[in-house]
Symmetry: C2
Subunit: 447 residues, 2 copies
């Protein structure tokens, strides 16, 4: 299902969609870098390397930063970053919805099967319709989020700066970008209830995936939801309860994080925020460099898992993680197939999950491997930074600022792979072909 573009001779040029997506993202990053290095964008001169890193981080909605967004960039520069985030997040959701519809899953349009099987039959008109629908949902959520955030930022900064803060953080949160205008992210509002409700709400909606949102919109009840939506909602709920509880338990007495707050309600608010934002959004209200090693390890796991397919989130995705767990449970129950909510999940899916997980592990391991070759920092911090880039999360324990050129290139590549990779794989999944040759089966001992 390649896209066709007419060339000068009139013959169409075939471009496979994943390649098109990669080219578009790359072009966006390069244009962004060129704009961000301009004197009009910055308060003090930055290197092209800094600008390239910032643009990559913005387009891939990661949020890792080598220069402070709030102080190094002018209003124009910040607006540029916000546009890159919005295009990155939107492009992602649109492309994911296209792939998803090709897989035959509902994407929330009335005639949602029209894209099925062959994207080539998709007219520009229909494509525009899909993008319009997604855009409407996105802008509506960002608008509501922005209005709620006004009540926090306007009293603190006045109308002009307060409005800009509200817009910036609403868009950044919905796209799970994690970019913030203060050097310590949202730590200043760690115990502010509006921040603790609005930001998590935005990133949850942005991170659960467009397919789940449209499924909920159409069916308005649990019973008729697709298996994908049920798994996403249950899995996310369990992960949230687990991460919030564990964060509270592990950090309760840490004087550099929760221990600094006397009120248990404050501690719980911060645990709630950090438990929710860690899987993909990348905001923080406590210093990530001060969390306990055990907590950092839990964060690494959460960042690898990520959030939902067809969302603005990264990672191997919640559904992939669930299938991994279900396969393990099925193994112990001695079942030959997986099932959940009265539906079975084919063994082909298990193979896809295994391949996806292996590729992810390979990317993360290769990244760590390459960076350790030239960088001699703390290993935990390094693993944290690489998984943060892979999950396009953006939380940092400080390693990103210290990286040499090779390290920066590796992190940029991993952010790019973490963003474009899963979509490319999703595209592969959508057009699997049966094998031509059948071999006699054989058994291998594995234990």
């Amino acid at each position: 299902m390649p896209f066709y573009f007419p060339n000068r001779t009139g013959k169409p040029i075939r471009i496979p969609p994943p390649l098109l997506l990669a080219i578009l993202y790359l072009a966006l990053i390069l244009i962004g870098a060129v704009v961000l290095v301009l004197p009009v964008a910055v308060t003090h001169p930055i290197s092209f390397s800094d600008a390239l890193f910032t643009a990559t981080s913005a387009v891939t909605v990661t949020g890792l930063a080598v220069v402070d967004t709030g102080s190094s960039f002018t209003l124009f520069g910040q607006a540029m970053i916000l546009i890159l985030i919005q295009l990155g997040g939107l492009g992602l959701m649109t492309f994911a919805a296209l792939v998803l519809s090709a897989l035959g899953l509902p994407i929330g349009l009335r005639h949602h099967n029209f894209l099925r099987e062959d994207l080539n039959q998709t007219s520009l008109h229909q494509l525009v319709g899909l993008v319009k629908t997604i855009l409407a949902v996105v802008l509506f959520c960002e608008l509501i989020g922005g209005i709620l955030l006004l009540t926090v930022f306007v009293p603190d900064f006045g109308w002009a700066r307060g409005t800009w803060f509200a817009v910036f953080h609403s868009v950044s949160a919905f796209n799970n970008a994690g970019f913030a205008l203060m050097p310590d992210s949202l730590s200043r509002w760690a115990t502010n209830p509006v921040i603790n409700l609005t930001i998590p709400a935005l990133l949850l909606i942005g991170g659960i995936g467009f397919s789940v949102i449209s499924d909920l919109w159409i069916h308005r009840g649990w019973r008729h939801l697709s298996l994908h939506s049920k798994l996403m909602l249950t899995g996310s709920a369990i992960l949230i309860v687990w991460s919030v509880t564990m964060f509270a338990i592990l950090e309760w007495h840490n004087p550099d994080t929760l221990g600094a707050f006397a009120n248990p309600i404050d501690k719980l608010q911060i645990s709630w925020f950090q438990g929710l934002t860690t899987r993909t959004a990348g905001f923080n209200t406590v210093d990530i460099g001060s969390i306990h090693d055990t907590t950092a390890l839990m964060f690494i796991l959460l960042m690898v898992i990520g959030a939902g397919s067809t969302s603005t989130a990264g990672g191997i995705k919640v559904t992939t993680f669930i299938v991994l767990v279900l396969a393990t449970i099925a193994f112990f129950k001695r079942h030959n197939q997986l099932h959940a909510f009265g539906r079975s999940i084919g063994l082909e899916e298990v193979m896809k999950v295994l391949a996806l997980t292996m590729i992810s592990m390979f990317v993360v391991m290769s990244g760590i491997f390459l960076i350790t070759m030239s960088h001699d920092g703390d290993f935990l911090d390094l693993v944290f930074e690489v998984t943060s880039a892979f999950g396009t999360v953006g939380l940092s324990r400080g390693t990103t600022g210290e990286l040499d050129t090779l390290g920066r290139i590796v992190i940029e590549l991993i952010m790019f792979i973490g963003r474009v990779g899963p979509l490319t794989l999703g595209f592969f999944l959508a057009r699997r072909v049966p094998p031509r040759i059948s071999y006699p089966s054989s058994q291998v001992y594995l234990g």
Copy 2:
């Protein structure tokens, strides 16, 4: 297929084999610990905790140590450790062969199907026959190894001590135990060709698996080998070439390891030895604490992979790793099944591999998680130590000596799980039952 033991009332008591195995290993460890703490076994008093750790490490053929084997234990103590190693390794191979024969794979006996389907029908006579065959192979290899090692140790230590060194290291090497009588393992003989040939040969034969050895013995050629043997031999060869080459490249100029040797032949000998021993045996001829972080990361991967099923080695096993890689390749080739050497590997196998890998990851992650809670050492060293325990490898970067009580218990548990766990899982695999209910199939988006 439980074993039956008559009790006082004459009714048989059913004990599932994995439970029996766990009980036997536990009993062996406890008896070992009680003996090793006796004054006759030690040159200076050690705590029961030290003795328990040593016994666990010996029975699970790991090789991690909290006291120096050569100087802390008397000849009697060292002999006890050697007996624990031999019983641990032998018990392992026997049980694995039993499970394997229940799976219908060849185990090198003339009537190899006699154990199939139901171990309950196995007579004591047949069991003794199997153990005898394995014992003969083991003792033969250890004898040859010991004689070759005499040529190194007798000139260095005289006949009495030299002979004991030859016996100890031959048995330790064949069982992939990694226990050595010098505090710096075999570093003193880093460039000795006999050591560099004999020890790797012993640990390769002990680590490739009894099933592969008997398969080679019966068929004496590549063509008719089972898929399992072909995968094991090819996979091991690739892993050896890769690990030896990478070690040489990464450490060539490290002044604390290969850089200390001027002669390229010496450097290559050490790379050869270290590349071979790391996956499971746990001997070393350079200081493991001085290797580069990148090399340590490679070692962690090798230790998780381990060597062969039905061998004295630990880890997820080479075949498991190969299936992981094949599944990933099949995914990219858009195949619905895996194949190698003209045979297909069923998707049920892929599910088993996934479950096995997940459980392994879970054990390793939990171990790291628990130890970080009370131990504040270097994270890389900690991960190294936990994977070394899980793969029953025994290489150390020094963390084991610094562990508190919780840390020691965790490492002991992981060594035990790393040893008994895969066999228990293998037993599960051997008696998988088909599911009773069939559910309608459904698709989940994973990308």
